[in-house]
């Protein structure tokens, strides 16, 4: 029940990635990585997570900034959400990411929160956040998936003991841009596609991403595959700022002569991972970019959904947002 009072911890502020990797290797599961701190500090203040050591990455200069590469764009994991939102490069060529960034949390949080932190943030299931001993917290039950539970904000797909959803607005945008996540550890570097980066409870119920102990997400690479494509992003939340998506949608498509040549659509707030709308994509691909295609694709979006007691509205919302992604982009 302790709220708003952190426990004591050792704070490390490495100046480079090598130093940070040494620390996370040494600290193992006792260590906690922090960048903007917008997710972490809540956990600490509620004493629901009690790391004994915190590694603050914010002084690592090499994890800041963006640079154009031959085949796209590299974004340091410490780039703030505001920097993403305001980057003319991203606005001009990868607009879906800038649009998504503009809808993250609030301006104050965007000024501090980083792209790396945004994609690594933990789920917002309020039971889990209350500090209950649910599956995700290492326990043996789910409080949200019961006949009486208040689960309006939980998942439609991929329930596996846990019914939490991906809270990120940037994640679906990165999935449709086919971004790669560069993860470093003492053992070297591995590169994982954004789609594979996020994991559901069926893979690991206590993690939201593939990042394990000893690893740091350092860079996000966006290939130029979708540069300058037709984009769409929309987020529906109760409030227009400082709120998490009930459902969000990101889409990237190549349209020639009003025909959709290629398309990727991903949605947040409906599954533990940003959900690729592959059936909707298949319907849209090669079809005219018109109301009929949009309706058909939208209508397919919720196929297979298993609503909980308080979230069946998400079916309609998901269908409508996927429809709008095609119709209104």
């Amino acid at each position: 029940m302790a709220k708003d009072m952190m426990t004591r911890f050792e704070l490390y502020r490495p100046a480079d990635i090598a130093g940070a990797l040494d620390l996370v290797d040494k600290l193992g599961s006792d260590g906690w990585l922090i960048a903007g701190g917008q997710d972490s500090l809540d956990w600490f203040k509620d004493r629901a997570k009690r790391p004994t050591a915190v590694v603050d990455l914010s002084r690592i200069e090499s994890m800041r900034g963006m640079r154009e590469t031959e085949d796209g764009l590299e974004i340091g994991a410490l780039v703030t959400v505001t920097e993403i939102e305001e980057s003319t490069l991203i606005q001009n060529f990868y607009g879906v990411l800038a649009d998504a960034a503009s809808r993250v949390a609030s301006p104050q949080i965007r000024n501090v929160g980083t792209i790396g932190g945004n994609v690594c943030q933990d789920t917002r299931c309020w039971y889990y956040r209350s500090g209950l001993d649910c599956y995700r917290a290492g326990g043996s039950t789910c409080y949200a998936d019961t006949p009486e539970a208040m689960n309006r904000e939980h998942c439609l797909f991929g329930a596996d003991r846990c019914v939490a959803v991906s809270p990120s607005d940037l994640a679906p945008a990165l999935v449709v841009l086919d971004a790669s996540m560069v993860i470093q550890s003492k053992d070297g570097e591995r590169i994982v596609s954004a789609e594979a980066f996020f994991i559901g409870p069926d893979v690991d119920i206590e993690r939201m991403t593939v990042i394990g102990p000893g690893e740091i997400l350092t860079t996000i690479r966006i290939p130029n595959t979708w540069s300058g494509a037709t984009f769409y992003f929309e987020k529906v939340a109760d409030r227009n700022t400082w709120d998490f998506a009930l459902v969000n949608v990101a889409a990237a498509m190549r349209v020639e002569n009003d025909v959709i040549q290629d398309i990727r659509i991903a949605c947040g707030g409906v599954e533990c991972v940003p959900r690729r709308m592959t059936v909707a994509e298949d319907i849209a691909k090669g079809s005219a970019k018109d109301e009929e295609t949009a309706k058909l694709a939208g209508g397919s979006a919720a196929r297979g959904a298993v609503p909980l007691n308080y979230n069946h509205f998400k079916i309609t919302l998901l269908e409508n947002l996927v429809m709008r992604a095609i119709r209104d982009s």
């Binding site: 029940m1 009072m5 009486e148 227009n240 700022t241």
Partner: protein
Amino acid sequence: MAYTLLGKNFTPPDIRGKVTGKAKFAEDFRAEGMVYCKLLLSPMPHARVSNIDVSDALAMDGVVGVLTADDVPAMEGAAQAILTNNPHYVGDPILAVAAIDETTAADALEKIRYDIEPLDFVLDPLQSLYPGGTNAQVKGNVANAGIPLQELKWTARDFASADTDQFPMTGKAVSEWSYGNLEQEFSAAAVVYDESFVTASNSHHSMEPRSAMSYWENGKCFLFGSSQSQSFMIPGLAAYIGIEPEDLVYIAEYCGGGFGSKGAPYPIMALPAHMSKKIGRPVMMRISRAEEYYLGSNRAGFQGRVKVGVARNGKVTAVDLYIVQSGGPHGGFPDFNSAAGAVSICYQPNAMQYRGIPVLTNTPPGGAQRGPGQNQIAMVMEPLLDKAARELGIDRLEIRRINAPNNDTIFGGRQRSVTSAYQTEALNKGALAFNWEQTKKRSGERNGSKVIGVGIGQAYHSAGAAGFDGLLRIAPDGRLHIHSGVGNLGTYSYAATSRIVAEVLHCKWENCVIERGDTRKHLPWNFGQFGSNTSFTMSRSNHAAAMDARQKLLEIAAAEFGGSADEYELGEETVFSKADAAKKLTYSQAAQRAIDMGGKYAGHEIPDDLHPMTRASATAIAGTGLIGVAKDNYALDGSPPALAAGFMVIELDTETGKFEILEYNGVIDCGTVIHPLGLASQVKGGAVMGIGLASTERIVYDPQNGLPANVGFHQAKPPSYLDVPSRLGSDAVDIADPQNPMGIRGMGEPVMGCAASALICAISDALGGHYFNRTPIVPDMIINAIAGREQSHKPLQVYTF
């Protein structure tokens, strides 16, 4: 009447401190040797705590003391305790630890061992009323102001009398009244609507959590607290501490928002005083944001049913209203009764029956929140009026005019009259600014997936009291010191009503000093700053004191220059002879004369009818200048009302359930306007709160374990900057009330309810008149309604998303 100061904007003296950060709120104070305390909060919604072992905590370095329920006064009946071994909601404080810093105190809380036995708990009042249903307190399930804790159950037959989706109307009530011939009016009505409804409970979200600091010095308790009110706090707060009122020094110069939750003394405020007494050191209790959601109280939720009869000409003829209130474990505020009064005054039915029950629930304590009861019921009633207008083919503005209260209005169970009422004028003024005739034609206008909705809302709150004291002093330096004990909840009405003294005494505002915010400044007995009363109440008592000072000035001049007092007049901070303006005394000179003359002039003799607090304050400053002091004995016949009308147009997206508010205009009938900028802030700020009440805010509990889902701003969702319209219009009727010396009435609360109900009506209008039977109306409800799907919640379910 033309005034020099009233009706004009000014800069209240506390603004500079607020915008520069120099203002000191309760948690900004420090004292030598001060320690911090943290609270152990109940993890269960209803429990019994025993075998508390604090030895490990006390053994920690830096821990200086523990305070338990045994150290604080026990409470009678259903009343809320400062600390309890019988917690009644998740977050109920069990004990406190004091330490040299907060981290140590929080660490120490984790070292405390105790047994906690879970007891049955209840969130849904109707379940508590069911035969055999759980009581939120061991000794009962019903209580409120004037209603002792008791157990009350309806019969199975009562519940069987209605469908499960309908509120049963036959159960026993504890509060009821009626007038007129209900049966006859219903049978004669052209249309009758019968709707069950739920209005959600929501939090106050005071920006400043209710922190407090306290120490003892020379037998007196010093308490730095966060409250809307000042003098009104003293008796109750002293009782919580267990001392005489005169032994309490209470400092509350600034208040970072209360919205009703800090209007009267609240138990936790006394905790640092008890801890300080026990450990002999100053104690700071900083309440965190999450704790504020437990301790900061909630607006009561309603489950109810209303049957409304409307005649062919649009007149509301009959209302049958039943409200079951969910008010937390101690009963909360009598929102349920206030709601009934509001229905009676706003729609003037020929016959009305009201029944109500305040049921206890194992949720945080209920408390008054801006328009408590009136604003919930406005959201229930206003869309029904629209329904009648549509069915009877009457314009929605016109049906409101037809039923609008006026100077002849009689209302409520006691059939009270009003001091004056100009709701028709408020509606007309709002309609003009909103361009109602043109704007209403946009109703249903489509633009792709978007549709326009137009709504009018109305709300009421009583707006004043009488019988409190005014106190002022003209010092020998000529400055006018206005002693105000009303408090400073943030509306600046303490300052606006102080200007009445300057107005009467023809003083320059720059030469006035408002003495306030600290018992040591010798403050009079004033009412609490709540219930939209300050402008009316304080203007009367300040006027009375000013008139007393005026008379004394005239008499002093007569004594100086000869003749009688009525041969003299006031002007430009002098008292002068009407016949010979050269015969004059400056206020500085008059103040010195008052000291020399002594007696009543210098405050040595004071009226017998003053409150003891005012007597003490006047006595303390006696001999320091000319003292003006008087009780407000002006006649008051009837109830002063504040009535408001709001006009709103929204564009609702049928594919997302979201809407944008395109325009809002609010108009208040509050008598003479004394501070235009303050009034505009209230109308606009009230609208923002009303938008939240209608569309985003509600508290949610898990029925399995009683846990709250919203213990942060982002979870409880007060509207953000991007959820409110960029255009917010405000205006006032500005017709003087005859029962206030300056024509003033209060206004703070209905300006929220009229916006909330205007939004509910606009959403309903956009959806072709759909009646939701529930507030707030959130996107998923709109999506489900448009899709023709059932709502997720059961019709009478409470505390759901």
